[in-house]
């Protein structure tokens, strides 16, 4: 099975990279883009037999390694 983990900075944390990207977009004329938050995306190949198991495993590794709970939060998709 495949689990996808999306890690993003918490809303309270300033994202200088996202800020730079949105400024670039504005200078390119994309005034319709209000804000950009840059994050990280992980694809995990897991040997789990159920979606629940895959989600639990992905959540465990996200908590322990993929995300830093001080500054980041994450979301998981399983297929």
């Amino acid at each position: 099975m495949k689990a996808r983990v999306f890690v993003t900075l918490k809303p309270s944390v300033f994202d200088p990279q996202g800020q730079t990207i949105v400024e670039a977009l504005h200078s390119m004329g994309y005034a319709g883009v209000g804000d950009v938050r840059q994050g990280k995306y992980f694809e995990l190949e897991v040997s789990s037999t159920s979606a629940e198991q895959a989600r639990a495993l992905a959540s465990e590794v996200a908590d322990k390694l993929l995300a830093n709970p001080v500054i980041e939060s994450y979301r998981i998709e399983v297929e």
């Binding site: 900075l9 309270s12 944390v13 300033f14 200088p16 990279q17 730079t20 390694l65 993929l66 830093n68 001080v70 500054i71």
Partner: protein, 238 residues
């Protein structure tokens, strides 16, 4: 003699500077400890040096904190042993939960490699006992991710318990936005844990221990720990 154990991770690059400061400048014992080891070789002081452990992949310090040696470092810290995390070492201590908070990219997204001024805020840690409160140290920084962040309640507790050990300042010791090289909250350059034996800072005192290098202001951190251990007795570990 005091023994400094300097942990070497794949990608550490200030390990030799720390070794040189401890052994050749201070005349103490120093030994490298590879990150796969599970013992600290009888350390009196542990240094997590600067560098780019594991290529800074994922997040700075995120992989290194799971190195086998880190269990021994955590145990040493729990027993009250002095631990100094410099730059990447500070990032590793934060990732390991031995110090609170986390490091973000510098606010201007630039890697800063320059001498800065930092003000000693607290002298009741083993690494600042020979400094004076308000003393301004001229010390180099070299990092792209030194923008210290912590949740408001954590910051408040750091401030109220006097755990901000160093702050970026101008040459006269004034903490200003202009003197803050990376956007760190409250101008924080270094902090300590509740017990005050674990200290992390982004600037590199080990690179400022001899006048020909431009500054010997960093020496006071190493002299402090040597004199703290001499007066309080060293904590030898296995």
């Amino acid at each position: 003699m005091i023994k400094f154990s300097i942990v070497v991770f794949p990608g550490s690059n200030c390990d030799h500077d720390a070794y040189h400061a401890a052994k050749h400048v201070l005349g103490q014992e120093a030994e490298f400890v590879w990150h796969k080891e599970t013992s600290l070789h009888g350390a009196d002081v542990v240094v997590l040096p600067g560098g780019f452990s594991h290529g800074d992949y994922l997040r700075t310090g995120a992989i290194a904190r799971f190195s086998p040696v880190m269990s021994a470092v955590a145990e040493f810290a729990r027993a009250g042993g002095p631990v100094l995390g410099i730059c990447n070492g500070f990032q590793i201590l934060c990732e390991a939960g031995l110090l609170p908070g986390a490091m973000l990219r510098n606010r201007d997204l630039k890697f800063h490699c320059e001498h800065v001024s930092i003000r000693v805020e607290q002298t009741d840690t083993p690494f600042t006992s020979r400094a004076s409160r308000g003393q301004v140290l001229r010390i180099p920084i070299a990092h792209g991710e030194g923008n210290y962040y912590a949740e408001p309640d954590v910051l408040a507790s750091l401030e109220s318990s006097g755990r901000v050990v160093f702050r970026y300042c101008d040459a006269r010791g004034q903490v200003t936005e202009a003197a803050n090289p990376n956007g760190s909250l409250h101008g924080i350059a270094g902090i300590c844990n509740e017990r005050r034996n674990v200290v992390g800072l982004m600037p590199h005192p080990e690179r400022a221990c001899e006048r020909p290098l431009g500054s010997a202001d960093g020496l006071v951190l190493f002299e402090s720990v040597v004199s703290s251990l001499a007066s309080h007795g060293a904590l030898r570990t296995a």
